[in-house]
């Protein structure tokens, strides 16, 4: 295990132990009342729901809505500077569970949650849960990412793989690192080009970065962001998908994909709110 992984688990482990200790001492939030279906759920996204990462959350919530477990509203394209206001509005509107991603507003989001202790918050986050009601999740798909790397490493004939990511945050880094490790396991001679476009959703910019990598001899592209597979298709090279399966949109281009399934996390949170047992925790 790398020192980064060790520090990551230490951080989460410490936060988890702290939460457990508070609960043991009776200092955790009081147990919430049970709720009848459908509970009210709101989601706040900083990008369009077409974007693959939030799209998986949106899909899982729509499935819960179709089952009759929840009423579901959402806001997309919410700027980080506006995120806190939207959180407060959804809390004031009586939503039982508020879901989103707070990678750019970690501290402010926790303050909002603290102001509404009778609401449950479940947020994509680089950090741990916070009392009394702030739970977190993350996309741990490093394992399938490793497997896609195995496929990519063997597929390249130039021994050059291009990788285009959004931001170099832990949630992205760990997938790219696992992919690289997998590629090296099947092709020790492979080299990597790596670029971060500084956006979660800018397909033209991602495509431009991918074109530059193809010009530099990359013949397999890791498509962490939308736009990369378009470049691969246009130039006749292969791509590796991330989070969702886009193979049908790029026939003959997508070699393999690492898929994220948000349903287990969403369903667990909804069940906890309905049962009145929602507590600040790491939902995985």
């Amino acid at each position: 295990m790398s020192r980064f992984a060790a520090s990551y688990f230490t951080r989460r482990a410490v936060l988890g132990l702290a939460a457990a200790a508070l609960a043991t001492l009776g200092l955790a939030a009081p147990a919430a009342a049970q709720k009848a279906k459908p509970i009210k759920v709101a989601a706040i996204y900083t990008v369009p729901v077409e974007q693959q990462w939030v799209g998986r959350i949106h899909q899982a919530l729509n499935a819960a809505k179709d089952r009759g477990d929840i009423e579901y509203v959402f806001s997309e394209n919410v700027a980080n500077t506006d995120y806190e206001r939207v959180m407060r509005e959804y809390a004031e509107a009586g939503n039982d569970l508020i879901i989103g991603e707070v990678f750019g507003v970690e501290r402010a989001a926790r303050k909002v949650a603290e102001a509404y202790p009778d609401k449950a918050f479940l947020m994509g986050s680089s950090f741990g849960p916070t009392q009394p009601n702030f739970s977190v999740f993350d996309n741990f798909i490093h394992e399938p990412s490793y497997l896609t790397g195995m496929i990519a490493g063997k597929a390249t004939t130039t021994n050059v793989i291009g990788m285009v990511g959004g931001y170099a945050i832990p949630e992205v880094n760990r997938l790219m690192s696992a992919f690289m490790e997998g590629a090296l396991s099947t092709n020790p001679d492979v080299k990597f080009l790596v670029s971060f476009i500084g956006s979660w959703y800018d397909p033209p910019k991602a495509k431009e970065a991918a074109f530059a990598m193809i010009d530099a001899k990359a013949d397999v592209l890791y498509a962490e962001r939308f736009g990369v597979s378009d470049a691969a298709k246009e130039r006749g090279v292969k791509a590796i998908g991330n989070v969702i399966d886009t193979a049908a949109d790029y026939p003959g281009t997508i070699l393999a994909s690492a898929l994220w399934h948000m349903e287990p996390t969403i369903d667990r949170a909804i069940a906890a709110v309905i049962a009145g047992t929602f507590e600040p925790a790491d939902y995985g």
Partner: protein, 48 residues
């Protein structure tokens, strides 16, 4: 993967068959807890 939070799909029509088999074998090892993929949060750097 063992808890269905993630999965792996491959286009077997275009991927190398032997590597597909190797990846599927590795997938089983992961799910069985016999192989662990490192969690490396460090920013990946170009190697070319």
């Amino acid at each position: 993967m063992a808890y269905d939070g993630g999965s792996f799909v491959v286009d077997e029509a275009i991927a190398d068959k032997a590597t597909v088999e190797a990846a599927k074998a590795k997938e089983k090892e992961i799910k069985d807890g016999l192989f662990r993929v490192n969690v490396n949060d460090a920013e990946p750097k170009p190697t070319l």
